[in-house]
């Protein structure tokens, strides 16, 4: 007991000394005080809710920064976040995914879903780490978008860019990477196309990747397993890849036909409306000889209802051939009507070429006018870089040969892409960074029409076929414009925005220069382009 008492006394003495000692080290008040910088933010409307239309409005806010110390606003770091009111960190939402800009002045083409949002403007003083935040409110109305959809390859992921008109219909605005925050591995893009003919409002863009083919649905371009196109097929592989899709808008029975070819060269047909469903492939020549189809479909876009060449008195409906190409037999095939199998092409009139070509198809397209049904194919010699032009007129129940010849011209051996003018008898080919024009009547020579910077590689070169009149007029005005997309080959490795989208007006006369109608830079690494004409699924 004595032992314990002794130690209690020692402990009490120590505590007393400690208390007194700390008292001796009192604050002498000799700090070096500085006024800290105070930032106030003005110019953001806090009284009202900002309103924006997705894919039409650009949200522009130019805040004023006032510093209590004389600091240049360019010294600060800025962050703009737009966060949905229902964002839930428990469901994986992170603050970073809502960042829309790091500039002091916000210029944000709105690409958000319908809903209410809170915006945060953050100003950080990097020298002290102090951050000032001003919040504001935003309401987004999303009525969907029509415009150019560009499938870009972002290291094996599909980056979807959109070019649409602003809400005044004047300016073309790029909406980059619409799927930046999507939680779905759709794969690497291979092809993008639009399905629809305006019938019953049925229409949607679709994407083929190395993981399948998907419809892009709704105002927000939704993509998921539920939108996989394989659900439209009675018989199809799980990894169905649509390599070619064509809508025949004036078919025999009055309903638009939707033809597709898959990755194995199988040909399918259905009606392009709400009841679309693909039955068995028809890859048998006359029901006997199996074949694989090249990923090209030749259809007529002729819609002249009073042109007697395309109908008969007894059968005043249309009966255009659909053209396929037999990869194995290296020959043209035709298919008439809804039922049955393709046959080897039978041609009327002068026989300019043998339909058993022995060559490989690299291109086919048709005029898009009301008064003719010209279809042009380009075939390559299998053993040499020599290209041949085949021009055919699709008439009622027959095919007439119109043009044939080897394509000559500068650098034709390096031609990689071809395009047919929708009304003129002009074919175009593109090499790495140049484009040339060929007359269908005289394919032996070509004229250079375009030379891009050597650091650019042309990757899309075509005329887009609008499948219906439901597309907005500003989009349809581009029917006769040559669409050329390129990627920079000399960009920095970490630069994701290497793509450029261009549209060109092509003059009727060969020797007149082409004019650039639109140029948008800053896209991703472009793979393919289509137009979203309207929405209906």
């Amino acid at each position: 007991m004595k032992f314990h008492s002794f130690y209690y006394k020692i402990a009490a003495a120590c505590c007393s000394v400690a208390v007194l000692a700390t008292g001796c080290y009192g604050d002498k008040g000799n700090y070096d005080y500085h006024d800290i910088n105070e930032v106030t933010i003005s110019g953001i409307d806090l009284e009202n809710v900002y309103q924006a239309y997705a894919y039409k409005s650009t949200l522009e806010i130019s805040p004023k920064i006032h510093s209590s110390k004389d600091i240049d606003p360019s010294q600060y770091e800025y962050t703009w976040r737009i966060v949905p009111r229902n964002a839930d960190a428990d469901k994986g939402a992170t603050l970073d995914e809502f960042i829309v800009s790091h500039e002091q002045n916000l210029v944000y083409p709105v690409q958000l879903a319908d809903g209410d949002y809170t915006g945060f403007f953050e100003v950080k003083d990097p020298s002290t780490g102090v951050t000032w935040i001003q919040d504001f409110y935003l309401k987004v109305i999303n009525e969907g978008a029509a415009g150019w959809l560009i499938a870009c390859d972002d290291n094996g992921r599909t980056r979807l860019d959109l070019i649409a008109k602003d809400d005044k219909g004047e300016k073309d605005v790029l909406y980059p990477d619409l799927w930046k925050n999507i939680d779905f591995d759709m794969g690497k893009p291979l092809k993008i196309f639009f399905v629809g003919a305006g019938t019953e409002g049925f229409g949607f863009p679709a994407l083929t990747t190395d993981k399948g083919s998907f419809a892009l649905t709704g105002n927000d371009f939704q993509i998921s397993d539920d939108t996989n196109l394989k659900w439209y097929f009675g018989i199809a592989s799980d990894q169905l890849q649509v390599t070619c899709s064509a809508i025949e808008t004036i078919p025999t029975d009055g309903l638009p036909d939707w033809w597709v070819i898959d990755e194995e060269g199988n040909i399918y047909r259905t009606e392009c409306d709400m009841t679309a469903f693909f039955s068995y492939p028809i890859n048998m020549v006359e029901g006997k000889t199996p074949f694989r189809a090249a990923p090209f479909i030749g259809v007529s876009y002729c819609d002249s209802w009073d042109n007697p060449e395309y109908t008969t008195e007894d059968e005043p409906w249309y009966n255009f051939a659909v053209i396929f190409y037999d990869v194995d037999g290296r020959r043209f095939l035709t298919k008439y009507g809804v039922n049955g199998y393709p046959s080897v092409m039978q041609c009327s009139g002068t026989q300019l070429f043998d339909v058993e070509t022995g060559r490989d198809m690299v291109f086919i397209d048709s005029h898009d006018t009301g008064n003719n049904s010209l279809t042009v194919a380009v075939l390559k010699d299998p053993d040499s870089p020599r290209y041949y032009l085949y021009g055919m007129d699709l008439k009622y129940g027959e095919v007439e040969q119109l043009y044939y010849g080897e394509i000559g011209g500068p650098d034709i051996a390096n031609a990689r892409l071809f395009a047919l003018h929708p009304t003129l008898n002009a074919l175009f080919y593109a090499t790495d960074n140049k484009a040339y024009r060929v007359s269908l009547a005289n394919p032996g020579s070509a004229r250079e029409i375009l030379a891009l910077d050597p650091g650019e590689e042309i990757v899309v070169f075509k005329y887009h076929k609008f499948s219906s009149w439901d597309a907005p007029s500003w989009l349809q005005e581009n029917t006769s414009r040559l669409l050329v997309c390129s990627n920079k080959t000399n960009a920095e490795p970490d630069d994701p925005n290497v793509g450029t989208f261009r549209l060109y007006d092509i003059p009727s006369l060969e020797d007149e220069p082409i004019t650039e109608a639109l140029k948008i830079e800053g896209l991703g690494k472009i793979v393919d382009v289509t137009a979203k004409e309207y929405e209906g699924l």
Partner: protein
């Protein structure tokens, strides 16, 4: 004026006493009858007969339940009241002989409890019967007649009556005749171009298509189904391929004609 007030007051008191008077309630016997107002049964009910269309049920389902409601007329009781039902031999109409037979217990329906109970404080009860699907139903129908049995406590006090042209009256809610067969009506959309895809209609063909393709038969009969031309085209081609693979072949109802789809499905 005072007199008027007195008269008015007297009249009012008379009316008041009238309002207060207890209502006369039913005091007498109680009875039972088969319900004829149930929403599930009423559209199907023809007099005392209820059809049971196996044809509209997926082929792999071999048992079906039918629930007959028996109503009380009269007072509820504070105790259970029992009564009996009895299976009667169905009188097969002359024109149906050879096409319809009496249902056989254990073959066409499972034995069921013939003693029923109107539970205490309840006004109805259910008689559940399990019907069995047999192959013979594809060519013949089976009829099961179930009649209520009168008891001292539950009598036949109410029924609708059917009057024939000779003024004979028949009380039709004291029994129910369940007639079951494999009837699957021809869909309204099976005509015109569909004949080119599926060929001529036969009930056996329609049932085969539904079973092979896993099509819900109610949906099959809907107008919406007939709108799906592209899907129907696929069904035609798929069915023709399936029929081509069958060994022995599938025949139509006559047992001789091989079943086949229409000309548009022959590729």
């Amino acid at each position: 004026m005072k007199r008027i007030l007195i008269i008015t007051a007297m009249a009012a008191s008379l009316f008041w006493s009238g309002c207060q008077k207890d209502l006369d309630t039913y005091e007498g016997e109680s009875g039972i009858y088969f319900d004829h107002m149930d929403k599930a049964i009423q559209p199907l009910l023809r007099a005392d007969t209820i059809p049971f269309a196996w044809g509209q049920i997926a082929g792999e389902i071999l048992e079906g339940k039918i629930s007959l409601q028996i109503n009380l007329i009269g007072n509820v009781a504070d105790y259970d009241r029992k009564f009996q039902v009895k299976v009667l031999e169905t009188v097969i109409p002359e024109e149906l002989k050879g096409k319809m037979e009496n249902a056989v217990e254990g073959v066409d329906y499972q034995p069921f409890e013939t003693e029923c109970i109107i539970p205490a404080n309840e006004v109805s009860t259910k008689l559940d019967i399990t019907l069995l699907r047999t192959e013979v139903l594809q060519t013949e129908s089976r009829a099961l007649t179930i009649a209520l049995q009168e008891s001292d406590e539950l009598k036949f006090l109410y029924s609708r009556e059917l009057v024939d042209k000779n003024d004979n009256r028949r009380r039709i809610d004291l029994q129910r005749v369940i007639v079951m067969d494999e009837t699957l009506p021809q869909p309204d959309w099976w005509w015109g171009d569909i004949n080119n895809i599926f060929g001529d209609y036969s009930m056996k063909k329609a049932i085969t298509i539904c079973d092979v393709m896993g099509i819900d038969r109610q949906k099959w009969l809907s107008d919406d189904f007939g709108q799906q031309t592209s899907y129907i085209r696929f069904i035609g081609q798929h069915m023709q391929r399936w029929l081509d693979e069958q060994n022995p072949p599938v025949y139509e109802e006559d047992g001789e004609t091989p079943m086949e789809m229409g000309p548009d499905s022959q590729y």
